[in-house]
């Protein structure tokens, strides 16, 4: 019997040595997923039969000595934001209910080329707008640590499934923290790579200049491996970086002796829950113990990050979501004329948060307001980039909490959008700057016994330094491989 808490890297070794087959591994994850589904509601569209078929094909390849990769046959799951050929893809929205894409996203295709069976499509906040999963048009996933609580969002389903041991890893997307924040709230690893490192082709757009495909896993090494499989230039995405991608695992064990890590002065004060502060402060001490030099840095522009983000992201979204008009695909409201049809389709098909952001973005781009809102937000974005560049003259990495709080109760923030938006206060600046960030578990909060995440932010394209530090921390901490790192579900 395969233990679904085993990291993918180890499962790969087990397959190579003949101790486990891809079919056994895949079946184990399917069974675990089915067992926890009632508690976490992670799946929108399971593709279990297909996964088993793909696993068998992987076993055949391995028997013939033609394995496509070291992890050929280890299954994965996708946030429903990725389009999958022949499998419904909704981006969590009723407006795309019933749409079956005719093509695969580049990330999906590359994982398939590496032989990873697809377990299915997972729940999310509608069009990736949200920090709790509650904005899903199809229910909403729950946190495996406490089913009364949210898993975070917008990549709610993948975070819940991986944290519950229902998948070794999964792809989400991170636009303002949508992978790092749920990773923190569910006690797993979430990586937001440098903007442009992973192709956006086939990722249903929310905010094009911020969206980035981002992996979840239970260990840093697994997250690095999954990222490695799908990153690299894609001619179908003009914003994808043409540079050669380094091997993320190369030197991941090298430790952090002498590494300079900056802690953000502006994030030290109030805002974060005491229990979160306690665990994050302990994490800084552990990094110091491992040889890092911790110093305080100032990023004054960061406090405007949320404001800028909530102008730029909705502005882009207002255009990106204009195509959902009932004309070509997805839901169409019955009506006698085009104007009524389009407005009823959007009225019925979109949820409240999506409508709120479309209106915000439309307003921010309107004649006479552009400069005051969108234009100013772009200037803040430039300031954040400048502040970060200055900071990296002094430090190699920046450390701060991933989320100011642990997982909150379902319904707690739905009536207060601003409180919800502040969930991403520590993650949003990283997307605005295009840098890489990782959330790695740093224990359970003494306040409520729920997971806390430490965020490490690297320079653009310096994922290796980030993985090295996160891996050193994780190994020394040992939490994820202990019983405490597994949710009670």
């Amino acid at each position: 019997m395969v233990d679904t808490w085993t990291p993918a890297a180890e499962l790969g070794h087990a397959m190579a040595s003949g101790d486990a087959s891809a079919e056994e591994i895949t079946t184990a994850f399917i069974e675990r997923g089915q067992a926890v589904e009632e508690g976490i509601h992670a799946y929108l569209a399971p593709t279990f039969e297909r996964a088993v078929d793909e696993a068998r094909a992987a076993d055949d390849r391995r028997t013939r000595g033609e394995a496509l990769s070291a992890v050929d046959g280890i299954p994965l799951a996708f946030k429903d934001v990725f389009v999958t050929k022949g499998v419904p893809s909704t981006s969590g929205s009723r407006i795309l209910d019933g749409w079956v894409p005719p093509y695969d996203a580049t990330v999906v295709a590359r994982c398939s080329e590496a032989g990873l069976p697809m377990l299915g499509k997972l729940d999310m906040d509608e069009f990736a707008m949200g920090s709790s999963g509650e904005n899903s048009g199809f229910g909403g996933a729950r946190n495996p640590w406490d089913a009364e609580r949210v898993p975070g969002g917008s990549s709610s389903g993948p975070a819940a499934l991986v944290a519950a041991g229902g998948a070794p890893w999964a792809w989400g997307t991170d636009t303002g923290g949508s992978v790092r924040q749920p990773a923190a709230l569910c006690g797993i690893v979430g990586v937001k790579p440098t903007y442009g490192l992973v192709s956006r082709y086939g990722m249903i757009a929310f905010a094009s200049s911020l969206d980035q495909a981002s992996p979840f896993a239970r260990t840093v090494e697994d997250a690095a491996m999954l990222l490695q499989l799908a990153c690299g230039h894609d001619p179908m995405d003009s914003t994808s970086i043409p540079d050669e991608v380094p091997d993320f695992l190369d030197g991941i064990d090298a430790g952090i002796e002498g590494m300079r890590i900056g802690v953000v002065k502006e994030f030290q004060g109030e805002g974060a829950q005491p229990g979160v502060r306690t665990r994050v402060d302990e994490a800084y001490k552990r990094l110091e113990k491992l040889g890092a030099k911790i110093e305080e840095i100032s990023l004054p522009s960061f406090e405007y990050g949320i404001s800028a983000y909530y102008l730029i992201a909705p502005a882009e979204a207002s255009a990106n979501l204009a195509r959902y008009d009932g004309v070509r695909y997805g839901y169409r409201a019955p009506a006698d004329d085009i104007v009524t049809m389009t407005s009823h389709t959007r009225e019925d098909g979109f949820g409240d948060e999506v409508k709120r952001r479309i209106m915000l973005g439309t307003y921010a781009l309107s004649a006479g307001y552009y400069d005051a809102y969108y234009g100013k937000a772009l200037r803040v974005r430039s300031l954040i980039i400048r502040d970060l560049e200055k900071a990296y003259e002094k430090v190699d990495l920046i450390a701060c909490p991933t989320s100011p709080t642990t997982a909150f109760k379902v319904g707690e923030r739905t009536a207060d959008p601003l409180a919800m938006y502040l969930s991403d206060i520590y993650t949003v600046p990283v997307n605005l700057a295009g840098n890489a960030g990782i959330s790695v578990p740093c224990g359970l909060s003494p306040d409520d016994g729920l997971p806390v995440g430490l965020q490490l932010i690297a320079k653009a394209l310096d994922e290796r330094t980030m993985f090295r530090a996160a891996h050193a921390f994780e190994r020394d901490f040992g939490w994820i491989s202990s019983a405490e790192g597994r949710p009670p579900l």
Binding site: P101, P102, R200, M203, D237, E316, I338, T342, L365, A367
Partner: protein, 489 residues
């Protein structure tokens, strides 16, 4: 229109011209560019605006646009980007159009035109690149979208590269506008970057027309005229609009700032919408594409690759062939016509004016009747040269040649073949004629004696007899010469 009216008022016209580029593939995807075809057969996720799809710029389209801009003496922008232009219409897949906004590829150009009005330098405000929409067909009702029973959408055209050329309001009459469009069409045709067929919509012209009192400080109320589907329509629509506005002003009426639709059948314009419906397009930089900077080397390479442009060609026709301005204007309305003339002149080798006369005096009439352009006719340039040579060699008379040309035009046969078939070919072989001449002298001794006696008037009778015997095929001049040498000698 009374002289008084035209003395009091002046007309101002600015043109906005859209040209579909004839690149092999569309602006942002690999689908083919072509006219018509089975609906929705040249489409893909990108040009259908499917969720997750992303645009990639077709560099050839940028190069073609640069050719147009350079040929119009524009400055090429150093730093350019695409914007999103937001508005809803069912034939626009994304409900935004990727276009250029404040950094058009070309700007500050000029096109000099000449005609009955003298010479006018028309400023070119901008030349920019965008994508075309699909085509809607509204079934039922008035044929407009609002009251139709249903609409059919064909996205074959969606995403075709489209260049927008905007002129300064430097045009002051319908005639100038007509010549501007004619010359611009010839210029673009010469560049080989578009089919520029107004009937097929690969060239579309909109006009901004206003009339003001001469010497007035500001422009008059601007009216946009649409739906002019041929160069002739441009002239008619603007003549109508100029007259309508002048008469309204004369009558003391106020003009509305509006968009008016030209009706080919009635020759009149009618109101489409007034300014209250002005759109706010909410332009913002397209985040799916990266800004681009045409390198000076690229710009120079494109500049040096430009073919001979119509203005230069006209000058050369005057200089090298000794043609008059009026003839040159007729020969250079299109690149194909000018090419055809040059090929004929080359094949002929003699005085090109003779070829020009045949083209203008005869061929153009036949083309007009057939409703086709020179390149579509069955007759090849070399064949026309052959005809002129037959006349030169006195094989056929000029009058006969005209009927030969009609037959050549109908059948595509060579001139000598037609002449032979028609039995028109004159016998210029003196030995063949000599025997007939001898026969005639033998049969008409009396008349021959009179000639021998110096009565030269009788020679005409003998010539007539020879012509009769040869059924008109003998060359009369040659017959005359032979008779004289035989009888006077």
């Amino acid at each position: 229109m009374s002289t008084t009216t035209s003395d009091l008022y002046e007309t101002t016209v600015g043109l906005e011209i859209h040209v579909e580029l004839s690149t092999a593939s569309k602006m942002f995807c690999g689908c083919g560019v072509a006219f018509a075809g089975e609906p929705n057969t040249r489409t893909c996720p990108v040009c259908l605006g499917m969720p997750g799809s992303l645009p990639v710029v077709n560099e050839r389209a940028v190069e073609y646009t640069m050719k147009i801009a350079l040929a119009l003496n524009c400055q090429i922008v150093e730093h350019s980007l695409f914007h999103r232009k937001n508005y809803f219409y069912p034939d626009m897949p994304k409900n935004y159009q990727i276009s250029q906004y404040d950094y058009p590829l070309g700007s500050s150009g000029v096109l000099e035109i000449a005609g009955g009005f003298g010479t006018t330098r028309v400023g070119i405000t901008r030349v920019h690149l965008e994508e075309d929409t699909g085509k809607s067909q509204h079934i039922g009702g008035s044929g407009r979208i609002a009251d139709s029973d249903y609409s059919l959408e064909d996205f074959n055209r969606a995403g075709t590269p489209l260049v927008e050329i905007v002129s300064e309001p430097d045009i002051h009459s319908a005639d100038e506008a007509r010549v501007f469009v004619t010359d611009l069409r010839a210029l673009i045709e010469t560049l080989g970057v578009s089919d520029v067929r107004m009937e097929e919509g690969s060239m579309r012209v909109d006009a901004n027309v206003s009339v003001r009192l001469k010497g007035a400080a500001g422009y008059g109320t601007k009216v946009e005229v649409k739906n002019m589907n041929s160069i002739r329509s441009v002239g008619r629509a603007l003549e109508f609009e100029e007259k309508r506005q002048r008469e309204a002003l004369m009558a003391g009426d106020e003009l509305l700032q509006e968009t008016r639709h030209f009706d080919e059948k009635t020759g009149a314009t009618s109101s489409l919408r007034t300014k209250e419906f002005a759109f706010d397009y909410r332009y913002f930089p397209e985040p799916d594409l990266v800004p681009f900077e045409p390198s000076p080397e690229w710009v120079e390479a494109v500049r040096s690759s430009l073919p001979e442009l119509p203005v230069a060609r006209r000058e050369r026709f005057v200089r090298d062939y000794g043609l008059g301005e009026a003839d040159v204007a007729l020969l250079t309305t299109s690149r194909a016509t000018a090419d055809w003339f040059e090929a004929a002149a080359r094949a002929y080798g003699g005085d090109a004016k003779k070829v020009v006369n045949w083209i203008i005096a005869d061929l153009f009439g036949l083309l007009n009747e057939a409703g086709i352009e020179l390149p579509q006719s069955k007759i090849a340039p070399e064949q026309l040269a052959g005809l002129v040579k037959l006349v030169d060699g006195a094989t056929i008379s000029g009058k006969q040649a005209k009927s030969v040309l009609v037959e050549m035009f109908a059948s595509g046969k060579d001139a000598d073949a037609v002449a032979r078939e028609k039995g028109l070919e004159q016998i210029t072989d003196s030995s063949a004629i000599e025997s007939v001449v001898d026969e005639v002298i033998g049969e008409n001794q009396e008349a021959a004696d009179k000639v021998r006696a110096g009565n030269l008037g009788t020679i005409g009778f003998l010539v007539g007899q020879v012509m009769k015997k040869s059924r008109g095929q003998a060359n009369p001049k040659l017959v005359n010469e032979l008779l004289r040498s035989k009888l006077e000698g």
